[in-house]
Symmetry: C2
DNA sequence: GAGTGGTCTAGACCACCAG
DNA sequence: TGGTGGTCTAGACCACTCC
C-alpha cells in the first residue's frame, strides 16, 4: 500500500461512497490488495482516501455485501480469498442490455414493435389506470438476444399520461434502452416491485425463445416507479426469461 | 401529530434506526399518520423522536424501500397512498416459519427426516467439500405447511465439520428453526447467495406439494454464510415452492 | 427567499479481540 | 491494554421546489 489513493474531485456524478468502493475494487483487481490481506484500520484508510469514516464505511459495506471484503470486529477488514464473479442480481435494477453485457455477451433485439393501445385489465389495475384518468398506453414488445440467441421476451406498458408527449417512445431504436428514454423525459426509474412466477410458455413464446417442449420459464412482473413520480408507476413489464441461458440470482441478508 | 413519540431506551437489541422504523410503521398502521399525509421535516421529526438526523434518515430509507413512505426532494416526505402488504421479499433472509407467519398463516411441518450422509456431487461442490476435508453432512428434509396445506419442500445440507459436534441437529423438533439451531452453535446465518430456477416437479414432489399436473414450480438454491465463518458456507438448501400458494417478490433499486 | 431532502464531515463512545 | 470495527450524534453545505 502506498500513497496516491485520493479519489475526491473526480467525476461529481456518483455518490462519494460508491466512487470509493470502485477505487477499492480497482486496487483489488490490480493486485495492490491481495486476497487475505488486511486493510488499514478504518480511520487510517479514510484519511488516506481523503474521506470521512462514515463515507469509507458505506464503501466497505458495499464490498462486504458483494462478498469482496470481510469485516471481523475487533480484528480488521480483509480481502476475501475467492472474490466471486458477479451474476444477474435481482436486487439491482439494471437495463436488460446492461444485464447481458455484464454476463460478457453481446445484446441484441428481435421483433421490436411499438403500438398504442389500452392494456388488459390486470395490467391497468397494476398501473392504477381507469377510464376516467385515461388508460391509453404505449406498448413495447421485443425479444432480447445475447450473442444472437434469444434469452428473454419483454412486454412493456407505459401510460401515455406520464409521458411529456404521447409519441415520445414511438421512434425507439432497436438498441435503445427504455430506461434511458424515460430518464430523458425526467422519469428516471429508481425502484421496481417485482414478482417472480414460474410458467409453461405457449407455443408462440416457445418459438420466440427457441425452447424445447415442456421447459418451464421464469416470468418477472415488474412495476416501476420513478424518483419524482409520486404514487404513479411509470412502467409495467412482463419479462419472460429463458432460464437455461440466463440465471437469476439474489443476495439475501439476514 | 402529538408528543410522546420518543422511542429511545427501550430494548437495546435492535439497531436504533430499525426501532425508529418500527415506530413509524406503527404510527401509520394505527392511523396516526394517514395515507398521503406529509411528515414533519427531517430535522423536526428527528428531534421529536429523540434521535439524530442520520439515524432518522436510515429509518425513513427503510420505509421508502418498502414502499411505505415516499420522499420528494425540496418538498417533503409523505405516507404512500396504498401502503402495500408485505410479501415474501427475496432481498431479506428470514426463516421459512417466519415467512409463513408474515403472510398471516400458521406454519407447520410434515415428513421431517434428519440423516447423516454424503451429499451428491453438485451439492458437495457448492459447499466446497472434498473427500480429504470430510464430506459428511447432516441432511434435513421436510415439507412446510401454511394453515395445514403444503407450500414448500425443503432439502438442507449442513457439513458436519462446521458443527460443534456432529449430532448437534439430530434432535431437531418439528417446529424448530435450523437457523436458530445454527445460531446457538455460533453460526448465525447472515448471507445467502441464491439462484432461482423454474422446474417441473416429479411425481413425488407433486404429491408432497399437492400440485396439479403440468404445474411448474420455483426452486431456490441457496448457499448460506455465517458472519464468522470466513469463506466457508455453513448450509446449502434447495427449497421448492408451490408458487400458487406463496408468491416470491423482490424490490429492485436502480 | 424559505423550507425541504441529499450528502458529507468530524468526532464521540462502545463492544469485541488480541497480546 | 491497545487497536479494531459498530454505532450514533451534531452540524455543515448543497440542490431542489414552491411561493
Amino acid at each position: 500500500m502506498s500513497q496516491g489513493w485520493s479519489v475526491k474531485g473526480d467525476e461529481e456524478q456518483q455518490l462519494l461512497g460508491e466512487r470509493i468502493a470502485e477505487r477499492l475494487r480497482g486496487l483489488i483487481a490490480q493486485g495492490v490488495l491481495l486476497p487475505g490481506e488486511k486493510l488499514p484500520s478504518e480511520p487510517e484508510l479514510a484519511a488516506r482516501l481523503g474521506v470521512s469514516r462514515p463515507t469509507l464505511r458505506s464503501a466497505v459495506s458495499e464490498l462486504v455485501a458483494d462478498l469482496v471484503l470481510e469485516r471481523r470486529r475487533g480484528v480488521g477488514t480483509f480481502v476475501r480469498q475467492a472474490a466471486p464473479l458477479l451474476q444477474t442480481g435481482l436486487e439491482r435494477l439494471v437495463g436488460t442490455g446492461d444485464t447481458i453485457r455484464q454476463l460478457g455477451m453481446k445484446p441484441g433485439v428481435a421483433d421490436l414493435s411499438v403500438e398504442h393501445r389500452r392494456p388488459p385489465e390486470h395490467v391497468a389495475a397494476r398501473l392504477g389506470l381507469t377510464a376516467a384518468t385515461g388508460a391509453e398506453c404505449v406498448r413495447i414488445q421485443r425479444v432480447r438476444t445475447a450473442d444472437g440467441r434469444p434469452v428473454m421476451s419483454c412486454d412493456e406498458w407505459i401510460p401515455e399520461r406520464v409521458l411529456p408527449d404521447p409519441t415520445h417512445l414511438d421512434d425507439l431504436g432497436e438498441h435503445e434502452s427504455v430506461y434511458e428514454r424515460l430518464a430523458e423525459a425526467g422519469l428516471a426509474v429508481r425502484l421496481a416491485s417485482t414478482s417472480i412466477v414460474p410458467c409453461l410458455p405457449d407455443t408462440d413464446l416457445r418459438r420466440k425463445l427457441e425452447l424445447p417442449p415442456q421447459t418451464p420459464i421464469l416470468v418477472l412482473r415488474q412495476l416501476h416507479f420513478a424518483s419524482n413520480s409520486a404514487d404513479h408507476p411509470v412502467l409495467y413489464s412482463e419479462n419472460s426469461y429463458n432460464s437455461e441461458r440466463i440465471e437469476l440470482t439474489a443476495v439475501r441478508r439476514g
